[in-house]
């Protein structure tokens, strides 16, 4: 059995277990080394994965795996292809930044550091597997591997009851989500007799007619959909998000706001590419409704938030609404219109990159602030005069989230709306565009506090922490860079989708 194409996962597993072992051996004074080791190891894995798999060095078909046209391979239950690798790179970026933020957030002698960093890596591993999963059982198992570490990480500040409360809320919501997902899987299995996503395609694709005749299948798909909607906090399954964002440690929130959501969207993309495309109209409507609700409700709730993390939680709900617009465009297209289909897929992938960098950079600044206990909009007052670079980076990331050029968020939104427009979802585009005007209102509130208002309290962030500052610089730079040269990411997205689009 040739496991070469699983080597990113295996390397990551080795790294996280190695971190645990390192924790065992290090004396208490030197525990802070663990974080740096995790960052170093993950960077090495990133480099290895990027340079080996970026050039498609996949092995030939071996015993248990099949080779795919683009050089990817197929294990029972898992697919390793260019699309999965695209996502894996994103997860590694998210995990890297989250690790850097953690270094800044926790003190050097914080307890249980080894476990903390290992858990972040385990969650990353879960994300890796989820975007590779091509079997309902594999999806369920990877979903759990992704979620469990995050429940623990959310309640990691043991003596802080807010953190424990956030952890409990996230856990209970997550457990209900898993149960919904599992029940949905059982119904889909019961209706179709297979758990392999590829077998859902042939011989009888999940067509609209089939859905109408088979309510068990319909129920199953609805359960799965609502479970995934829970995970990405789409309205009306969003109740957990603000509480969890507010209570959990900020670096964990940064990771949790990005990686699992991207993984779920990746899963949805794979589900669509593999199957279900015949029932596109049903999905399109489901996504459109969820997306419209998420954009609108998320925005309206964000308007009067005072806590930065809560505000970002609602803004995250809105961002998920934009993704759902893209997914809706993706699903609604008849399979024949290839160019517009390509645009829809590219748009979602592009916006994933945009969201990743903007959101993580914003959370980087919030980590900086909340490490010293400043978490409200008012505490940003006059920040620009004392910390010009931090506030500039914050401004850039917020404007990117709001979709203002030349930041990457603008191009991403533009792409998404073009896709939605090409799918004739005019009302959704109009709603989305109006929502981005509304969203400007609360993003500008933070900008106003930072730049226009005079400082009401002395914000002291302590001495600068070089890794965090570097991460912020890089994040802000990337947000602008991709905004000005989007071709860099578009090419990545195009190559990630090559296998699927050739087939159409």
């Amino acid at each position: 059995m040739d496991l070469t194409s699983l080597s990113p996962e295996i390397l990551l597993l080795v790294l996280s277990v190695g971190i645990l072992g390192l924790d065992w051996f290090l004396p208490k004074k030197e525990k802070y080394v663990i974080g740096y080791c995790a960052i170093l190891g993950l960077s090495l894995i990133f480099i290895v994965v990027h340079f080996t798999y970026g050039t498609r060095l996949f092995p030939e078909a071996a015993n248990v795996l099949m080779s795919l046209p683009d050089g990817g391979s197929y294990f029972q239950g898992f697919v390793v292809d260019a699309l999965a690798l695209f996502f894996k790179r994103l997860f590694m970026v998210a995990a890297l930044l989250a690790l850097v933020y953690s270094l800044a957030y926790f003190s050097e002698d914080a307890p249980f550091q080894g476990e903390y960093y290992a858990l972040i890596l385990f969650a990353t591993l879960g994300c890796f597997l989820l975007v590779s999963a091509s079997d309902l059982l594999a999806i369920f198992v990877s979903f759990e591997l992704m979620s469990l570490p995050l429940y623990i990480l959310c309640s990691y500040l043991k003596h802080n009851s807010r953190s424990s409360e956030a952890g409990l809320k996230y856990f209970l919501m997550g457990a209900v989500t898993s149960a919904l997902l599992l029940y949905g899987i059982s119904l889909v299995y019961g209706s179709l007799g297979t758990t392999d996503l590829r077998h859902l395609v042939s011989p009888g694709p999940v067509s609209l007619v089939r859905l109408a005749q088979d309510p068990v299948l319909l129920m199953g798909l609805l359960f799965i959909l609502s479970a995934l909607a829970f995970k990405i906090a789409a309205v009306p399954f969003h109740m957990w998000a603000p509480d969890v964002y507010e209570g959990a440690p900020t670096p964990v929130v940064a990771f949790l706001a990005v990686a699992p959501k991207i993984a779920v969207i990746g899963l949805l993309i794979r589900v669509f590419l593999s199957s279900m495309s015949e029932a596109g109209l049903f999905w399109s409507w489901a996504f459109a409704i969820l997306g419209a609700l998420s954009m609108t409700v998320g925005n309206l709730m964000a308007l009067h938030q005072q806590n930065l993390k809560r505000l970002l939680a609602y803004s995250g709900i809105t961002q998920m609404g934009y993704f759902l617009v893209g997914l809706s465009a993706m699903a609604s297209l008849p399979p024949l219109s290839v160019p517009s289909l390509q645009i829809a897929y590219q748009a979602v992938l592009f916006y994933l990159v945009a969201y990743l960098f903007s959101e993580l950079t914003a959370f980087g600044v919030v980590t900086y602030l909340s490490a010293k206990g400043y978490e409200t909009v008012n505490s940003c007052r006059g920040l620009s005069s004392r910390y010009p670079i931090v506030s500039l980076v914050f401004l850039i990331s917020l404007l990117s989230l709001a979709g203002i050029p030349p930041m990457v968020g603008f191009v991403g939104k533009f792409y998404l709306f073009v896709a939605a427009f090409s799918s004739k979802l005019y009302w959704l585009v109009a709603l989305g565009v109006l929502n981005s005007v509304v969203s400007l209102f609360y993003y500008l509130r933070i900008a106003k506090a930072m730049y226009i208002e005079k400082e009401s309290q002395e914000v002291k962030l302590g001495k600068p922490f070089i890794p965090l500052e570097t991460a912020l610089w890089v994040g802000g730079f990337v947000v602008v860079l991709i905004g000005i040269f989007p071709k860099l990411v578009v090419n990545l997205a195009v190559s990630a989708l090559q296998r699927y689009l050739v087939g159409f």
């Binding site: 239950g77 002698d109 476990e115 903390y116 385990f122 570490p149 068990v216």
Partner: protein
């Protein structure tokens, strides 16, 4: 095409399947001869499960509801027996009623001070919850009724061996991942449960 080979491989290693035309069905476990589950057994088990489950979600004393949970688990184990999956029934008994339920009871007892019998145990959603749940149950039952009521009678000579080969060949990667999930749970429980030295 390797995929097909794998499937063939699995099927070949499987024990012989009993001819479907033959009316006599045999089971792997000691050759017990059985036709179909008796309706009476099913209805008793179903009543037990649903009754205990209702108690779990309604009883005010959380310790009692934990005990009812064990009752439900036992009933479900019975259901597995009636579905001819004895290994699963045994697993259910060992892990669910044995480990999980006991763990939950421990949890309940350790947090004893927090639950009093006088305060309300349900939030304000309970009134809306009843019609919503009834509605959902109605929809789910209606959709279930559209399925063909296939009999529970396809029988394998040695089911456990077949399941084992599926686990080890078709689902080997998810099986491996489970071990990582358990490791994560272990680490997490330790990190959260252990008091750090400074505190």
């Amino acid at each position: 095409m390797n995929k097909m080979l794998i499937l063939m491989n699995i099927l070949l290693t499987l024990p012989k399947r009993v001819n479907r035309q033959n009316q006599e069905y045999r089971f792997g476990f000691g050759g017990i001869s059985e036709r179909m589950i008796h309706p009476f057994v099913f209805y008793v088990l179903a009543t037990l499960i649903v009754g205990f489950a209702l108690l779990v979600v309604t009883v005010r004393n959380i310790f009692h509801s934990g005990l009812c949970l064990i009752g439900t688990f036992l009933g479900v184990a019975g259901i597995y027996v009636s579905l001819h999956n004895y290994f699963l029934a045994a697993t259910q008994l060992l892990i669910y009623s044995g480990a999980i339920a006991v763990l939950i009871l421990f949890g309940i007892m350790m947090t004893q001070r927090s639950w009093s019998l006088t305060s309300r145990t349900h939030n304000s959603l309970w009134l809306i919850g009843i019609p919503v749940s009834a509605m959902m149950a109605f929809l789910m039952i209606r959709s279930a009724l559209t399925l063909p009521d296939s009999p529970i009678k396809t029988v394998w000579e040695n089911l456990l061996q077949a399941i084992g080969s599926v686990l080890m060949q078709v689902y080997v990667l998810p099986f491996e991942i489970i071990s990582v999930v358990l490791l994560v749970a272990l680490i997490g429980a330790m990190a959260l449960g252990k008091e750090s030295e400074e505190a």
